[in-house]
């Protein structure tokens, strides 16, 4: 037997993959010898230390390099061999050890008793699946005598023997029926029983693990991926990516500059930031990390531009370990492209604050005690701009930039509600539906918000072109991003429609093939 180091499942000797979890048994993997306890290579038949077979004594093994299909049919073919027992069964080691071979009767009885008697609660290699557990199963308790490997008792619970009649090879049953009664038969029965209860290799999973799926099977997926990449890339490189569509639809002009409509939530956050005085302290919670920065940097950048134009004092903080560096990266990019502000105000990055919602709560009490130094190691007490800022209430606005519902909720519950500070949010497109209920309350728990790249595009247009409820022209950069996103969505729509249309045809073809088989 080979006990899978990953899930603990017992596999026949010579197996190259686990029948349960499909893990490949590499020649370097090691198992503990059930006889001497030494570690030895998993594919060895005999222990390198004591020379004993690594398989459990008394149970049959498949010959090495046996093909799975041949094995199953081979059992049936072996029915015609001498006494119905193939060679590999006759060479089984004795379960009673090296001191004297027991009689056939004893051997048969001991095998039946040994196989039937243990009825411990089923072990749980499949529940835990940990390597430690698997190692325990292989090693078993230290008894000092020859015994079955610890895991085998739990691996072959009695209930499983009788719940899998289909696993009994037809030839083996025929052989059992033809055997005359007597001591030899009992031994033969024991072997037959052991043969029956040994878990049959799962042909399908092992075969799937061994041979890679044919190239053709992956083709539709690769084509889909290629189409998606091409669709998303095209609008980013082309000057007017949709102009060619105008020729396909008479009277339509897809090449014309497009505009969007601002949502009430976007207008509200625009008004909130627009009403801030120069030098007003604004806390920005950068609660996103590089994983979502592709989308969130666009949202944050749109809001930051407006805030810097208002010449407010920006203070940033993050409840994520990677948040401060993400904020620093974006802030430096945005600041580098701007002329020096009239007031000379920069920004203060307070860094990472562990403690989740408790940390937010604590900020409302005393800021300098919670965060004595900023991201660059400056003491907050030494920064003149931080002098009037003691708690969360000192800020004119708290802007939460996040793609996580939890983080948004913490700020609303632990800062907005108890300390009555004004909150606004810039969220990812996927978070927008979850954030909306906080905006559409009376009084509003979020004073305003924008969501995803479309929200950022609207906000940039609002900022550059002034207020207008509809018909906001899109900036070139934003337009390209939106076009890329739109192309991706179009591909998804085509995929969904295509899948829905093809599905009944595929089902019919599969049924027809099954009937033919």
């Amino acid at each position: 037997m080979i006990y899978c180091p990953s899930c603990g499942t017992a596999n026949r000797h010579g197996s190259r993959y686990c029948n349960e979890c499909g893990v490949k048994f590499s020649p370097q993997m090691e198992v503990r010898c059930p006889h001497c306890g030494e570690m030895t290579t998993i594919q060895d038949r005999l222990c390198g230390a004591c020379g004993q077979p690594l398989s459990s004594p008394g149970l049959p093994e498949l010959p090495e390099e046996t093909d799975l299909e041949e094995t199953e049919s081979g059992v049936a073919d072996a029915a015609g061999e001498k006494a119905g027992v193939p060679d590999w069964l006759r060479d089984l080691p004795s379960p009673s050890g090296a001191e004297g071979r027991p009689s056939a009767e004893e051997q048969g009885r001991s095998e039946i008793e040994r196989t039937l008697s243990p009825a411990p609660p089923p072990l749980a290699p499949r529940e835990g699946g940990s390597q430690e557990r698997a190692a325990d199963l292989i090693a078993g308790p230290e008894t000092g005598t020859r015994r079955m490997p610890g895991g085998e008792r739990g691996e072959l619970p009695i209930a499983e023997f009788f719940s899998q009649p289909a696993a009994v090879p037809a030839g083996a049953l025929r052989r059992a029926a033809q055997d005359p009664p007597g001591p030899a038969t009992e031994s033969s029965d024991a072997r037959l029983f052991a043969e029956i209860v040994t878990p049959a290799p799962r042909k399908a999973s092992a075969a799937a693990a061994r041979s890679p799926a044919p190239l053709l099977a992956h083709l539709p997926r690769w084509l889909l991926y290629a189409l998606l990449i091409a669709a998303v890339t095209w609008p980013l490189v082309a000057e007017n990516p949709w102009a060619w569509l105008s020729g396909l639809v008479p009277g339509a002009d897809f090449g014309a500059p497009r505009s969007m409509t601002a949502t009430p939530a976007a207008l509200d956050i625009y008004h909130q930031i627009g009403s801030l005085d120069a030098g007003a302290p604004v806390l920005i919670a950068f609660d996103y990390d590089p994983a979502t920065a592709g989308e969130m940097d666009v949202v944050a950048g749109a809001l930051l531009e407006h805030l810097l134009d208002r010449e407010v004092q920006i203070v940033t903080i993050s409840l994520l370990p990677a948040g401060p560096a993400t904020a620093e990266r974006l802030l430096q990019t945005v600041m580098a492209n701007r002329p020096a502000t009239a007031t000379g105000l920069g920004y203060v990055n307070l860094g990472y604050l562990p403690g989740k919602e408790a940390a937010v709560r604590l900020l409302g009490r005393r800021l300098a005690t919670v965060l004595p130094v900023d991201f660059t190691g400056n003491r907050l007490g030494d920064l003149a701009v931080m002098e009037p800022i003691n708690t969360l209430q000192s800020f004119s606005l708290i802007l939460v930039l996040t793609s996580s519902h939890e983080h948004l909720r913490w700020w609303i519950e632990q800062a907005g509600a108890p300390y009555q500070v004004k909150l606004a949010a810039g969220v990812s497109a996927s978070l927008e539906p979850l954030a909306r209920p906080y905006y559409e309350t009376t009084p509003r728990q979020i004073a305003g918000m924008i969501g995803g790249v479309p929200g950022a595009a609207v906000y940039v247009s609002l900022h550059h072109n002034g207020e207008g409820a509809s018909g906001l022209p899109l900036e070139r950069g934003m337009s390209a991003r939106l076009d890329a996103q739109a192309a991706g969505h179009l591909v998804l729509i085509l995929v969904i429609l295509g899948g829905t249309a093809i599905s009944p045809v595929l089902t019919m073809v599969r049924r027809a093939m099954r009937r033919e088989r």
């Binding site: 180091p5 590499s26 370097q28 390597q131 889909l224 991926y225 998606l228 998303v232 949709w242 339509a252 002009d253 497009r258 969007m260 409509t261 949502t263 990390d289 590089p290 994983a291 920065a293 592709g294 370990p321 990677a322 401060p324 560096a325 620093e328 990266r329 860094g351 990472y352 604050l353 562990p354 403690g355 408790a358 940390a359 709560r361 604590l362 009490r365 919670v370 991201f375 660059t376 190691g377 927008e432 539906p433 979850l434 909306r436 209920p437 479309p454 939106l482 076009d483 996103q485 739109a486 969505h489 998804l492 729509i493 995929v495 969904i496 429609l497 295509g498 899948g499 829905t500 599905s503």
Partner: protein, 215 residues
């Protein structure tokens, strides 16, 4: 003994919970000070948990390497990068104080963490495309409704001369039926949080004693 320690833990939890709750609901300065200290302690414990997590990470991967388990090489890479980042952060090689603002740490962040995390996140697009092809099929009327709604919301995002019909329809779906569902979920979460809090305060729930209970 186990019962005693469980009782002590339950009483301590209830006491801390009640003090913090009372400090939030009342205006006594002395109670507020105690509540603040306890919340402060929670933040310190959270910071310590990070350290404990780091130690555990090193232990697990060191064992992985020592026992030459599967994919041990990746563990080696992880520990090496961890060590480099730690050294670069703790011992300043450039001007400025030690910490995450050190140039080498920033370089590691910008050139390793950002691309890797962004790339992994970008793979979602392919998974979503495959999942959309395999799962969004009309099997019954519920799946048909779901498919139609998904198509409208997706098409509503596309700004290709489809305004204002599809974006308006998308906004209505997100603003009315989806919002109703989200509100229901949020209310359910809030009620669940209250019930869990009460169970903790009463000592019925004791997640801190899970291991002990199993034994």
């Amino acid at each position: 003994m186990a019962l005693l320690s469980r009782t002590v833990l339950a009483v301590a939890t209830a006491a801390v919970g009640l003090i913090v709750l009372a400090s939030l609901l009342t205006a006594y300065p002395w109670l507020d000070a105690i509540g603040g200290t306890l919340i402060d302690a929670a933040v310190i414990v959270a910071a310590f948990a990070l350290l404990a997590g780091l130690v555990n990470l090193v232990r697990v991967h060191a064992r992985q390497i020592r026992e030459r388990r599967a994919h041990w090489f990746y563990s080696l890479v992880l520990l090496a990068v961890l060590l480099i980042t730690l050294v670069a952060g703790l011992f300043p090689f450039a001007a400025g104080p030690a910490g995450p603002s050190q140039p080498l740490v920033r370089w590691l962040f910008d050139h390793i963490q950002v691309p890797v995390q962004a790339s992994l996140s970008a793979l979602l697009a392919f998974f979503v495309a495959t999942a959309a092809y395999r799962l969004l099929r009309i099997r019954n009327w519920e799946s048909a409704v779901m498919l139609v709604v998904a198509l409208i919301v997706l098409a509503g995002q596309v700004t290709l001369g489809l305004e204002p019909v599809l974006p308006g329809l998308r906004d209505w779906i997100l603003g009315v039926p989806a919002m109703a569902g989200v509100r229901g979920i949020l209310l359910g979460v809030a009620l669940g949080t209250i019930v869990t809090g009460i169970r903790l305060l009463l000592g019925i729930e004791h997640p801190y004693g899970e291991k002990r209970n199993r034994e």
